[in-house]
């Protein structure tokens, strides 16, 4: 056990902290909404230039081009959390598609998409879930039929986040209906303005339409959009899901939330008393701090495993479940602490933190469900982590 940073890394950390502090004024504020707001894109470009995001992606694809260094990536994530400066862009394109293309994309695909995606110029949506295929994703039925150099797609996706803003979709389609369900799926990329695609917004609990239904009627897309191979889409999708789950349980993001909550409880008062001076609320805060510490330590352990090229085992499998649950509990405590002010929404002079806690209290519940529900995570922990039997399986007689 050695948690000290060598002089090289300590200097790196100081430099990152300094850069973030000195340039925080360039970052987009809460009012700079819209995925392609110029301030967001400028901030992203700045962060790439400084090597604070897209760090290990080759310069030829618009990244910073550094050698992979897990520790440096971790230091950067920690410094964003510590400083509270807005993080780099992290949509599904950047977090899921880019790593997938780097691993399995053709040279043309890499060339065409990676740089623009990193810069935030190209927004992607993830077309996986369907009305009949949620947790059982491999049951998907959206059909793609070969026609010379194209595929013609018919069917429907649902829960597709940012489909209206997206320029492109990475999509799972059924190309061989006769193969076993995991074997007839293809992973394909196409523009959202292709004729025959209709997007209908779905309003969620937060009151906004963060996700959508997407309908395909004779949508003709070129075969060059296929990633890896036809009928090998399940493997490609699994590569992407790993990245998604890592993103959804990031303990540094959780820690940043926790620090915000402590600050809120120190300044906000009720009956003239600071929230933190209420022993019941303080006890709940400390309960959550212990969990934040535990997830941080668990994250350090996983980082060390990766540095050594070892599998993280159970420590890795529990991150999505525990991390998302903890985020939701942090939001829940903020709402309880705010009490009646915690029910205000979207606008009004008494709204605190711009209504961020109210929004998180809802959206974080969505993240417990999305990206593999809590129950599916438990199946995975039990079967892959503890070696328990898959079901259904008959008892030994």
């Amino acid at each position: 056990m050695d948690l000290t940073l060598s002089p090289e890394y300590a200097a790196f950390r100081d430099q990152v902290a300094e850069t973030l502090k000195a340039n925080a004024h360039l970052a987009p504020g809460p009012d700079d909404k819209g995925l392609k707001h110029p301030k967001r894109l400028a901030w992203q470009e700045f962060l790439i230039r400084e090597g604070l995001t897209a760090r290990t992606i080759p310069t030829e694809f618009g990244g910073y081009g550094a050698e992979p260094d897990i520790l440096k990536s971790r230091i950067i994530a920690e410094e964003f959390a510590r400083s509270g400066v807005p993080r780099p862009l992290a949509g599904q394109g950047i977090s899921m598609l880019v790593p997938t293309l780097l691993e399995l994309g053709t040279p043309e695909q890499k060339e065409a998409y990676i740089e623009r995606t990193l810069k935030g110029e190209l927004i992607w949506c993830q077309g996986y879930s369907e009305p009949g295929a949620g947790s059982d994703l491999a049951a998907l039925r959206t059909r793609a039929v070969e026609d010379e150099d194209d595929f013609v797609i018919n069917g429907q996706k649902i829960w597709t986040s940012t489909a209206r803003q997206a320029d492109m979709m990475f999509c799972l389609v059924r190309t061989d209906p006769n193969a076993k369900k995991h074997h007839g799926i293809t992973y394909i990329l196409f523009p959202m303005d292709t004729p025959g695609i209709e997007v209908r917004p779905l309003v969620d609990m937060t009151g906004s339409a963060n996700f959508n239904e997407v309908f395909f009627t004779d949508v003709r897309v070129p075969k060059s959009g296929v990633v890896f191979e036809v009928n090998k889409g399940w493997q490609v999708a699994n590569a992407t899901l790993t990245h998604e789950r890592g993103m959804l349980g990031d303990p540094n993001a959780t820690k940043a939330r926790f620090i915000e909550l402590v600050e809120l409880m120190k300044v906000e008062t009720v009956n003239g008393q600071r929230l933190i001076d209420n022993p019941v609320l303080r006890d709940r805060l400390m309960t959550l701090q212990a969990e934040v510490y535990a997830m941080q330590a668990n994250g350090l352990r996983i980082t060390t495993n990766s540095l050594k090229g070892e599998a993280a085992g159970l420590a890795g499998l529990v991150v999505k479940l525990q991390g998302c649950e903890l985020n939701h509990q942090i939001a829940a405590l903020a709402i309880d602490a705010l009490g009646e002010l915690g029910i205000l929404y979207e606008e009004g002079e008494h709204l605190r933190s711009g209504g961020a806690w109210q929004w998180r209290y809802m959206y974080d519940l969505g993240l417990i469900i999305g990206g593999g529900t809590a129950q599916i995570q438990k199946n995975i922990i039990a079967e892959r982590g503890l070696g328990m039997p898959r079901e259904p399986r008959l008892a030994r007689s």
Binding site: M1, D2, L3, T4, L5, S6, Y9, L71, V262, K266, R274, I276, D277, P279, R282, D283, L285, M286, T287, Q289, A290, E291, Y293, A294, M295, Q296, A297, N298, L300, R301, T303, T304, N305, L307, K308, L314, A315, V318, L321, Q322, Q375, Q377, K378, N379, I381, A382, E383, G385, L386, G387, M388, P389, R390, E391, P392, R393, L394, A395, R396
Partner: protein
Amino acid sequence: MEFGLLEDQVMLQETVRRFVAEEVSLDLVRQIAEGEIQVAETLAEKLTALGLDGLLVPEKDGGSGLGVLDAALVQECFGYGIVPARFLSNSVAAYALRDSGSSIMNDITNNDARFGIALNDFLSRRDGSGLSIRDEAVSGASLMAMDVARSTHLLFLANDTVRIGQVGSAEQVKTIDRTREFSEVTITSFEQQFTGAEIEKTFAVACILLAADTLGAAQCMLDKAVAYAGDRQQFGRVIGSFQAVKHLCAEMAAKLEPARALIWHAAHALDVQDDEALAMAFLAKAHMAEVGTFIAKTSTEVHGGMGFTDLVGLHYWYKRIGVNRQIMGAPMALRELAAQQQGLVA
């Protein structure tokens, strides 16, 4: 940066784990729990021969000069096997003595000094409990002192300082957990010149070791639940293939694995005297108590009626975890202490 165990630490744990597996059967623990002194003494001799009691004693004072993390790894193995061992009390005492240069440290290593500890009053002083020093004499009693029987010294708390003394009267109290001994004690004499490490630090080490004990006990209960679920059949299936059962096991693992990392981190933080070390130690014990309590209950449920019987003896782990939760700081008191430590209490 490296967050993990060194090869020596893995080996240390392996050695203790093997000892526990070979020497400390449930049957043996039962005999000790039922008061068979001879069996207890034989085990104590074997534990002494393991040579772990001076683990936290500095090398220059005759010990192994290892850290709180190493001690936690050992204690985890003892928790796993619900071993009746004085290691925890000796280690807390060794830590308190560390900078004193006292020759007692050498005695701990040689088993000439065997410690009991009476630190419970620090966070939770009940009616009738509490020791104080006036005019060079100790008055009062301490409830819930640990490992007093067959000890030679007592590490105790009086007037906010950690002291070493001799037990006057000791009356064993009956607790739910018979794998360890707890007594109400008075003090006849004490070392006037000696004050140990700060009470907060000494207490933090006790917290880490109790948390580690629960970690081990809870891991054992989880392992037993998974094994039982893979064996027991109902409705023509092993019960482990029912999701209700599988998810209970997943929940236990999901809570336990990060808690393990927390205990490693908190123990290490004490070893390197990190600024956050005390808060982390107090929170580690509080958190481990919550996780342990959940696992103690859940594992029992996975075993069905069998879990509730004396036959499989699961209750020994259940009770050990229960005692670890309440003794030397129940979760709520520890969380308040952690809040104070961070300046969050006005």
